[in-house]
């Protein structure tokens, strides 16, 4: 069973996994009101348990610079999602940095495992990912960072001007390992985890619980 936004964020909090400032809203007025006090640009997402690839269905609006744009974005998303059952509208401060994929899975013979690699919309196409079996030791997490082409972001020059510090990403991997061991999670998919020199945040958690 797929967790909704609130449940997913709650799970992140319990394991100390950082995510950008996020407000879960139910109406247009709610969205606009909650956007006060947030740092623009923000992202608006129409969240639905029925829809996994939000970007492709136009259910995500990035780079919203002010309240006016937010109001417009809301109207567009409300129209595009008119045939879906929505859980919520989600306003989130837009994160920056290199995009990674962090996943959790349950193998029939090895049990809970953690996956790491290049994130973003081409992640499934590139398949630049590697796996370690839980519980991950720090050395295992470090090896994950080095195994795929995602390693380039942790090198001094980075890639296309983007660099990431290893420590916050290692911390995410170790926390996901603990989560996979303790929670009845069938699979989880954090894509992207956005990381820069200071922090790593889970932007779009997708968590499926065991039946």
């Amino acid at each position: 069973m797929l967790l909704d936004v609130r449940e997913s964020l709650h799970l992140l909090e319990r394991y100390g996994l950082a995510y950008p400032k996020t407000k879960v809203c139910v109406s247009r007025a709610d969205v606009l009101e909650n956007a006060y006090g947030m740092r623009f640009p923000v992202v608006l997402k129409a969240s639905s348990r029925e829809q996994s690839h939000k970007t492709e269905k136009g259910l995500v609006q990035l780079g919203i610079r002010d309240l006016d744009e937010l109001a417009h974005a809301f109207d567009r998303l409300a129209y595009k999602s008119r045939h879906f059952t929505l859980d919520a509208f989600v306003v989130q401060e837009q994160a920056h940095g290199a995009e990674f994929l962090v996943g959790g899975l349950r193998d029939p013979s090895f049990g809970p495992s953690v996956l790491f690699g290049l994130g973003g919309i081409y992640a499934e196409l590139l398949e630049e990912t590697a796996v370690r079996v839980c519980p991950l030791q720090k050395l295992d997490a470090e090896a994950l960072l080095e195994q795929t082409k995602a390693r380039v972001f942790f090198q001094p020059d980075g890639f296309r001007g983007k660099t990431a510090a290893a420590e916050p990403v290692l911390d995410v991997l170790l926390k996901v390992s603990a989560l996979m061991e303790k929670e009845p999670v069938q699979s989880l998919d954090f894509n992207p985890v956005m990381a820069d020199e200071e922090k790593a945040v889970v932007v779009d958690p997708r968590v499926v619980m065991q039946a």
Binding site: L105, D107, P108, S109, F110, G111, S113, L115, T129, A130, V131, R132, V133, D140, A143, Q147
Partner: protein
């Protein structure tokens, strides 16, 4: 005996239950292998030195040996029973083995969980447990322990005794490996076909061979595992015992997994999880069957070394290919120290056109004498940890002389692995054989030598 598995590999007596007079039957091949070491001739095939009891209620004698109607009629104790009766008769046979206090049992019989008859397999296992009888299989092709002159399988013959333990989830594959081993001169401490792993599985066997003084390298062909965690613990144990484990994983793709599920009835792990688990436990992976044995054999006769390699060649092209592969597989080719270049220049034993860099190219017309000068200098240089020596065949090339040279170098510099890439066929054959026979791993493909170098390298 410390492990209950010891009874499989050093029994004093073996019963063949379902021994047959018919040479087309498994029960005939197994008996003949025990009595002679191999149905097919090989110098390494020797008769089992312990007692062998054929069991067949309908025969008096098979292959000159007196038959017994059941294992219960055997006069002395039975340490190992090899069972080749139809699946439906196995339960009774196992009951008799328990009653006879047989220690270990190879179930060659097939038709259990791999064909959906898991209940029958469970029943047999429960029966065996009552008497502490250990079971290899069912659906196993048996086991071979060359140093104990034990061929309890229907594999064609016995390979040379060596230090590689090969454990295979495909039995028939292991059998072709035997034929191949005779040709390539691979040698084994044991060959084991695990079959359905109803009782004895990979994890326990890895632990056994990690503790086995005859074994230096553990080589696996794996399709699936029921308990990945126990497997990982066993790999860690082998790492602690400094016994390298090399793994070829079959069933990585959906199509391959489908084939594997009907083959040995095991759960298919995602290839990525399996690979991650191997890396986590310090095991090496092989991409192909030939890689599996090439790497295992290199690990069995060379000491691991730092990742600082030099290439010596008489062909520019082979040097280029080796450099490409080294780059791709993370094998570090050192820049030649200036002092070394100077030494070689001063020696006057190399032609003026030699490459003066790594790969060290001593040009197509190189004789053994030229190889000797370069080898000497390279092996004496402390910065170089390992050597890949390539040879292509020209009219003046001296393959056997070069091979002898490499073997002599190996003796003088035992800490530095030397990998040979003598490329060729008919006229290189004797040299290749000499190299393999004398512990210098020889590869007829540059890529394989680089993969072996990677497996031998201890650090980046």
């Amino acid at each position: 005996m410390t492990s209950s598995l010891s009874w499989f590999f050093s029994p004093r007596s073996v019963a063949v239950i379902g021994a047959s007079r018919d040479p087309a039957k498994v029960g005939h091949g197994v008996l003949k292998n025990l009595l002679s070491g191999g149905v097919f001739y090989a110098r390494s095939a020797k008769p089992f030195s312990g007692k062998v009891y054929p069991i067949n209620p309908a025969a008096k004698k098979i292959l000159g040996k007196v038959c017994y109607a059941s294992v219960l009629d055997v006069p002395g104790p039975v340490d190992l029973a090899v069972v080749c009766v139809p699946a439906a008769a196995v339960l009774d046979v196992v009951r008799q083995c328990v009653q006879k206090k047989v220690k270990s049992c190879v179930l060659i019989s097939a038709g259990f969980s791999e064909t959906g008859k898991g209940d029958l397999q469970q029943g047999i296992l429960a029966e065996a447990k009552k008497g502490g009888l250990r079971i290899l299989g069912p659906n196993s092709l048996g086991l071979i322990r060359p140093a104990a002159r034990l061929n309890a399988s229907f594999g064609l013959t016995t390979p040379r005794p060596g230090s590689v333990a090969f454990i295979s989830q495909s039995g028939a594959l292991a059998d072709s490996v035997i034929d191949w081993a005779l040709e390539e001169d691979y040698a084994f401490s044991a060959m084991v076909s695990v079959g359905n792993q109803a009782d004895v599985g990979f994890a326990e066997l890895i632990r056994f061979f990690a503790d086995d003084p005859q074994t230096n390298v553990i080589s696996l062909y794996v399709e699936g595992l029921s308990d990945g965690r126990a497997f990982m613990d066993a790999l860690r144990h082998a790492a602690k015992k400094k016994k390298p484990v090399v793994v070829l994983h079959g069933g990585k793709t959906r199509t391959g997994q489908l084939a594997a599920s009907t083959h040995t009835a095991s759960l298919a792990s995602s290839a990525a999880v399996f690979e991650g688990a191997l890396r986590q436990c310090g095991a090496r992976t092989a991409d192909t069957l030939t890689d599996l044995f090439a790497i295992s054999s290199a690990l069995s006769c060379c000491r691991p070394c730092a990742n600082r390699w030099a290439v010596l060649t008489n062909a520019g092209g082979v040097g280029v290919l080796l450099s490409d592969y080294a780059d791709r597989y993370g094998v570090q080719l050192l820049e030649l120290p200036e002092s070394l270049v100077q030494t070689l220049d001063d020696s006057g034993r190399l032609p003026s056109t030699w490459s003066r860099r790594n790969p060290l190219d001593i040009i197509g017309d190189a004789t053994a004498e030229r190889y000797e000068a370069a080898l000497e200098a390279l092996l004496k240089d402390p910065s170089i940890a390992g050597l890949i020596v390539a040879q292509t065949l020209q009219t003046m090339t001296e393959p056997v002389k070069n091979a002898k040279l490499l073997v002599a170098c190996k003796k003088r510099f035992p800490k530095k692995p030397i990998l040979a890439v003598f490329l060729g066929g008919k006229y290189s054959h004797d040299a290749m054989r000499f190299l393999n026979r004398h512990g210098v791993p020889q590869f007829n493909e540059p890529l394989q030598a680089v993969k072996a170098a990677r497996a031998l390298s201890t650090s980046d």
